[in-house]
């Protein structure tokens, strides 16, 4: 069991990163720390994808010296998925940061619980 875990250390690291990020995003009250948690969570998933696509002893999927045999290269699809995932993650981070700035300007705090209490006292129509 322990040996299997050591053999798959990349996957283990990915799962641990995902768990750290997920719990930070879920339980932390500070908005910036939540965002950091989200990025750690995404990094965990990307590491899992990258480790999945890597095959020891093979090269990046760029044809060299006319070698066209697929067994010479690693699978390029996971790398493509990681790139797409990074683009999505950056966009989401940008939106969340802009929302955080807007909330901070209004309530002068980054604590989500405090913001919730302050917003409850506001009188707003409909």
């Amino acid at each position: 069991m322990i040996q299997t875990l050591f053999e798959h250390y990349e996957e283990m690291a990915a799962v641990i990163l995902f768990a750290i990020g997920f719990s930070t995003l879920l339980f932390h009250r500070n908005l910036i720390k939540k965002l950091i948690g989200m990025n750690i969570m995404d990094t965990g998933t990307f590491l899992l994808l990258a480790s999945m696509g890597y095959i020891r002893g093979r090269k990046a999927p760029i044809i060299e010296n006319g070698v066209q045999d697929v067994s010479a290269y690693v699978n390029p699809v996971p790398a493509g998925l990681v790139l797409t995932g990074i683009v999505v993650s950056v966009s989401v981070t940008a939106i969340m940061l802009s929302l955080t700035v807007r909330l901070y300007r209004r309530y002068h705090t980054l604590d989500l619980d405090e913001i919730y209490i302050l917003s409850k006292h506001e009188k707003e129509d409909r």
């Binding site: 989200m38 995404d42 707003e124």
Partner: protein
């Protein structure tokens, strides 16, 4: 290749293009353009629906250079076309019906950007509906999340920003889990296209040792989409999100966005995993349990709500529970009932969310029940629309809600799964209790909006006297759709069964 085969791709590409175009138009031009192009999309998707129904065959549209199983694909069958048609009709009705409040809630200089967001949302909805590739589903799912957040914060008050942040946090958790589940499924099966993935998983599932890994991957993916769609116990973001958004946003978020997540899960279950593999996992039982709990607890929360929008939002949580219960039945009839519920609920909820602000407008701009006393007399049309929506939600015959509940009961009775008796008892009891609770809180609200006299002239609306043709027309279309679903449910059920057959 028929020209109709290009239409699904056009719906995505046109919407993306329209999103960019609206940034450069004036607010009025952006609105008119969006209405016109949404109408064109409805005609296109109507053609796809007719084509697939008449021929009885789905078609696949390869994207890019590489064929399956490596390339990307769009696929159109009766079920996808039916859902896309409904999404577009509701989007159009929400834009037209909520425009009166949209002008009040959004700064004029930003109104064209709101239409940009709606167009990008349409692109994401269409892509999720048509795609045959799970990773493409993930990318457009994130676009849907971002645009949903955008249409929420566009009403610049503190509560909407807070609601948007909470909505985003929950959605990001959901997206993260969905991506992880998807990556694990890819790891196990080696495919991202739905059909090759199903074939690979079917082979793997012959070995009982592979079932825990498949269950874990699909379970993580299900929780991810469950969080995003408001499945119990992840439904607590709904009241703030739907309650503080501008009516058009509340309508599209509750009727389209949450349903798109469920539809994606539905597609993945049937097309990418397969019913036979799913039945070997404990997931269907779990889904049924959370569905039933959602039906009851969502309704109890709605009973305790202090504003009408909170009540309607919690009622959405209960209605999403119905859908998961139907999927949890794990039979074709259960899936068909869940699909019918998606249609019925989308039509009814959009009508209710477009109507409640009109009741509030004649009640001192307050959504609190205490202020809404007699509002049905002060605004007769909104009162009638709300009554029709409420009757459908309760499940009164001739309305869509009744047919949906009937289909759930039939699905439970016709089930041939091992624990059939327990299942029938559970489903019937849950339907009875949930319908009773629906009845209590909706009838209580109806009594409240129709009790008291029309004496409080101080509660006159700010916008009274303005043209409401858009709201009247949108409401009539939604009601007509609701009654059509109620009276001709067999016709829609026929379409759904044909679509399900094409799925497999």
């Amino acid at each position: 290749m028929s020209v109709v085969w290009n239409f699904p791709l056009f719906t995505v590409v046109f919407s993306l293009f329209s999103g960019v175009l609206c940034m450069m138009l004036s607010p009025r031009a952006a609105r008119n353009y969006t209405i016109a192009y949404e109408s064109v999309l409805i005609v296109m998707v109507g053609c796809v629906l007719r084509c697939t129904y008449v021929t009885g065959e789905a078609f696949t549209y390869p994207m890019g250079e590489f064929p399956a199983p490596w390339g990307n694909e769009i696929r159109a069958g009766t079920l996808e076309a039916l859902i896309a048609f409904l999404f577009l009709v509701i989007m159009l009705c929400s834009i037209i019906g909520g425009y009166h409040f949209l002008r009040q809630d959004i700064d004029e200089s930003k109104q064209n950007l709101y239409f940009t967001l709606l167009n990008l949302m349409t692109a994401a909805l269409m892509a999720i509906t048509w795609t045959n590739d799970v990773f493409t589903g993930y990318v457009f799912l994130e676009i849907l999340t971002l645009t949903s957040c955008g249409v929420l914060i566009v009403r610049e008050i503190g509560r909407t920003t807070l609601a948007a942040v909470r909505y985003m946090i929950l959605n990001l958790l959901g997206s993260g889990l969905f991506l992880l589940g998807l990556v694990l499924l890819y790891d196990i099966s080696g495919h991202l296209l739905m059909v090759p993935m199903r074939e690979s998983l079917a082979q793997l599932a012959e070995d009982p040792a592979a079932i825990p890994a498949i269950s874990l991957s699909v379970g993580i993916l299900t929780i991810g989409l469950g969080i995003k769609s408001g499945m119990f116990p992840f439904h607590f973001w709904m009241p703030d999100t739907y309650g503080w958004a501008t009516p058009t946003s509340a309508s599209v978020l509750s009727s389209l966005v949450s349903k798109a997540y469920v539809f994606l899960l539905f597609k993945i279950y049937i097309r990418a995993i397969g019913l036979e593999v799913l039945q070997k996992t404990p997931l269907l039982h779990l889904l049924m349990a959370v569905g039933i709990l959602g039906m009851i607890i969502g309704s109890v929360s709605a009973l305790r709500a202090s504003t009408i929008n909170q009540m309607v939002a919690f009622s959405s949580a209960a209605q999403v529970g119905y859908i998961y219960m139907g999927i949890g039945l794990g039979t074709a009839a259960g899936f068909a009932a869940a699909m019918f519920q998606i249609l019925a609920h989308a039509l009814t909820k959009s009508l209710l969310f477009l109507t409640t602000p009109y009741l509030a407008e004649v009640s001192g701009d307050s959504l609190k029940f205490s202020a809404l006393q007699g509002s049905g007399h002060r605004d007769h049309l909104a009162g009638v629309y709300f009554t029709i929506g409420a009757l459908s939600m309760i499940g009164i015959p001739i309305f869509a809600g009744f047919s949906a509940k009937l289909m759930f009961s039939q699905a439970a009775v016709l089930s041939s799964r091992p624990s059939r008796t327990t299942m029938v008892l559970l489903v019937m009891s849950a339907l009875a209790v949930s319908s009773l609770l629906n009845g209590v809180y909706f009838v209580r609200t109806l009594i409240r909006i129709y009790s008291g006299q029309d004496e409080d002239s101080g509660k006159d609306a700010k916008g009274k006297g303005r043209s409401r043709y858009g709201y009247v027309g949108a409401g009539l279309v939604l009601i007509a759709g609701n009654i059509f679903l109620g009276l001709f449910s067999w016709m829609i059920a026929d379409l759904i069964y044909q679509g399900l057959w094409m799925f497999t």
